[in-house]
Amino acid sequence: MEKRVVFRSAWLPYLLVAPQIAITIVFFFWPAAQAVWYSFQLQDAFGLRSQFVGLQNFEQLFRDGNYLASFQVTAVFSVLVAFFGIAISLLLAAMADRVIRGALAYKTLLIWPYAVAPAVAGVLWAFLFAPSIGLITYVLRGLGVDWNWIINDNQAVALVVIAAVWKQISYNFLFFLAGLQSIPRSLIEAAAIDGASPTRRFWTIVFPLLSPTTFFLLVVNCVYAFFDTFGVIDATTQGGPAQATQILVYKVYHDGVKAADLGGSSAQSVILMFIVIVLTAVQFRFIERKVQY
């Protein structure tokens, strides 16, 4: 089925990919290289004085127990966000796939949250769950739950996970829905005729056939949880209480942008970059083997 395009000219293919490569160099490689360069430096806020300090920024980070604790927070946060983000959207997609009447309305509503900026999503959930005025807080109080994520760390983690997952569900939903619709009807019908229950059909036919999509979303959701969630956290908990929701990328943002400590912040982003590279490589090496294309 594969269709091969053969270019006769030697330079045309390079010319065609040049814009993409240029963008990648300007917006990815160049800033990344600068982050690496800054991570070896000690600078004052205004960039008036800077000195080369070698690995000192990194040493300082690894001596700091709180920085190490933030790895654990990030791991828990990412697993929760990726798991719930994928599980809930798979459920929603499986449901929406079966809807016949008003399918478009359902789909539109489910895709909607993706258009909301992360910071707005954060503010939205922060309001709903606000310790004194929140709507959901009010309901929880009625149920006898003492809801105050300002000081309760588990509740704070729950809040940022909910906000981050809600934001990502639409994206996952789109891919799952497309994946479901590309599964040949004949396979499912054949199984149904053989007497397989809907649950069994789902787990033995649909789910394995969806595995490329699921794998892709796993990678994307991990990257999302690692990099794109600082807006949500900044708008809600700002890393607190204590450091319960201080994920690595939020600390990069706080130290670099808010506290103007470019060296320390760059060192952290270099470490973060390294982690995501390793993580993605691992995912491709080990989990991809289980994927059936």
């Binding site: 960039g47 008036l48 700091d64 005025i133 607190g240 706080h254 103007a260």
Partner: protein, 436 residues
């Protein structure tokens, strides 16, 4: 025809252009949103109307940290504003940025504008001056921390509403009675580090850090794990455990908890008055912050918060002249009084305080002069002049994180404060190394 019209337009433009260009623009970046921003714009247009040579252009750049970040980025790119409003915790960072800023005292003397640091309240001058007494930035909006009481809740609990607690012992006793009367949230606070560490130290005349709270040199160290500090954080943690203290967050979230009537006692900025006045459906009073009466020298005086205006470097002499003129305009007693009475920030010159008092404003608004009285209760000592710690944006975050750990019962107060000192000192050393 078309050409003629175009030519006429060009001629007209040429005619008017010189008039427009003769006005020197002064860029002022600030962080005053909402009603405060409107009042700030009023000040600028008043100045613009008062003369023809200079035009102050105000730009709202978001929160304090955001506008500081924007200015740092602009400075690196070579187009910083002339005037930048920086919050008090950014003072040390700005001060160390020699070359990026011009001391206000120098701007004024170069422009031969009259400027007398002694005209300002000593707690204000001290915060923004170097050790030789040169004012480095221009104090603009200053407040301090106050203790608010819901008089209706006091009445309901059988307490005397006219007798707000003066000491922490009284706070605890009143808190227990309030709780017993069914009060859900008894005491809360805004700005935990500013209130319970920084102002607490000044109020009890104990140091926050060595070297005169960092004013004497970059090689300063935090001293906020003293027995008195531990005692206070232990009290608050115990109150939190018993449901007598509700933690509200790191910024001003406590304000709404008090003005909505949810909490009966509250410590927060003097600037919170305006919001409380608007929202509160109950009788309330504004008081000095509590102290421990067995500590010698307490109460001393509280310290300021808020922001000052920094003059950025690398501009033309004519522009600096305009900046000096504008700062002189802002120092005028009537302008100060307007800013003070509309916003609730403290009057920062003695003359404007007198003027406001004579105008009868304090008689009509009882308690409005409490913040000034608290700031000037005694002549400031080395411990109560203010503080100057490098990268204090990070430093304050560290303190707040450790306080949260103590209030949540995750860490012993002593351990939390020891950790705050240890982590805080690392930040100070880093700043010292970067600014040698």
């Amino acid at each position: 025809m078309e050409f003629k019209r175009l030519a006429a337009a060009f001629a007209a433009a040429a005619l008017f252009a010189p008039a427009a260009q003769a006005q020197t623009e002064i860029q002022w970046w600030h962080s005053m949103g909402g009603a405060l921003g409107e009042e700030l714009n009023k000040l600028a247009s008043k100045f613009n109307d008062s003369q023809k040579e200079y035009k102050v252009v105000t730009t709202f750049k978001g929160s304090y940290p955001e506008s500081m970040t924007a200015a740092i980025a602009a400075f690196r790119a070579g187009n910083a504003p002339h005037l930048l409003q920086v919050f008090e915790v950014g003072t040390a960072t700005m001060m160390a940025a020699r070359g990026a800023i011009v001391p206000v005292a120098k701007v004024m003397s170069d422009a031969k504008e009259p400027f007398d640091p002694k005209a300002y309240l000593p707690t204000v001058t001290g915060y923004y001056s170097d050790l030789k007494g040169n004012m480095l930035s221009f104090p603009f909006n200053s407040s301090t921390v106050m203790f608010y009481v819901n008089k209706d809740a006091f009445k309901k609990a059988g307490l005397d509403p006219e007798k707000a607690p003066k000491t922490w012992k009284e706070v605890l006793a009143d808190a227990e009675k309030l709780k017993a009367s069914g009060q859900q949230c008894v005491y809360t606070t805004s700005w935990p580090s500013w209130m319970h560490i920084e102002n607490f130290s000044a109020w009890h005349n104990v140091p926050i850090g060595t070297k005169q709270n960092g004013m004497g040199g970059l090689d300063t160290q935090f001293t906020i794990n003293s027995p008195l500090h531990v005692r206070h954080i232990t009290l608050l943690s115990d109150m939190a455990k018993k449901g007598l203290f509700t933690y509200a967050g790191r910024t001003n979230q406590g304000d709404a908890k008090f003005s909505s009537g949810e909490c009966a006692m509250f410590s927060g900025s003097a600037g919170a008055q305006a919001g409380i006045k608007k929202a509160a459906k109950f009788d309330w009073s504004i008081n000095f912050i509590p102290y421990y009466d067995d500590v010698k020298g307490a109460p001393q005086n509280s310290i300021i918060g808020g922001a000052s205006l920094w003059v950025m470097g690398g501009k033309k002499p004519a522009e600096y002249k305009g900046v000096a003129k504008f700062l002189a305009f802002l120092s005028k007693p009537d302008i100060q009084m307007e800013w003070h009475t509309v916003t609730g920030y403290v009057p920062i010159t003695k003359a404007s305080y007198e003027l406001t008092r004579k105008s009868g404003y304090y008689d009509k608004n009882p308690g409005a002069d409490m913040p000034v009285k608290e700031l000037t209760l005694h002549n400031p000592t080395a411990n109560s002049k203010g503080l100057r710690f490098g990268n204090f944006v990070q430093g304050r975050t560290v303190i707040e994180e450790e306080l949260e750990a103590a209030f949540a019962g995750k860490k012993e107060p002593k351990v939390a404060l020891d950790d705050a000192v240890k982590r805080g000192n690392e930040i100070l050393r880093q700043f010292e190394a970067a600014n040698k």
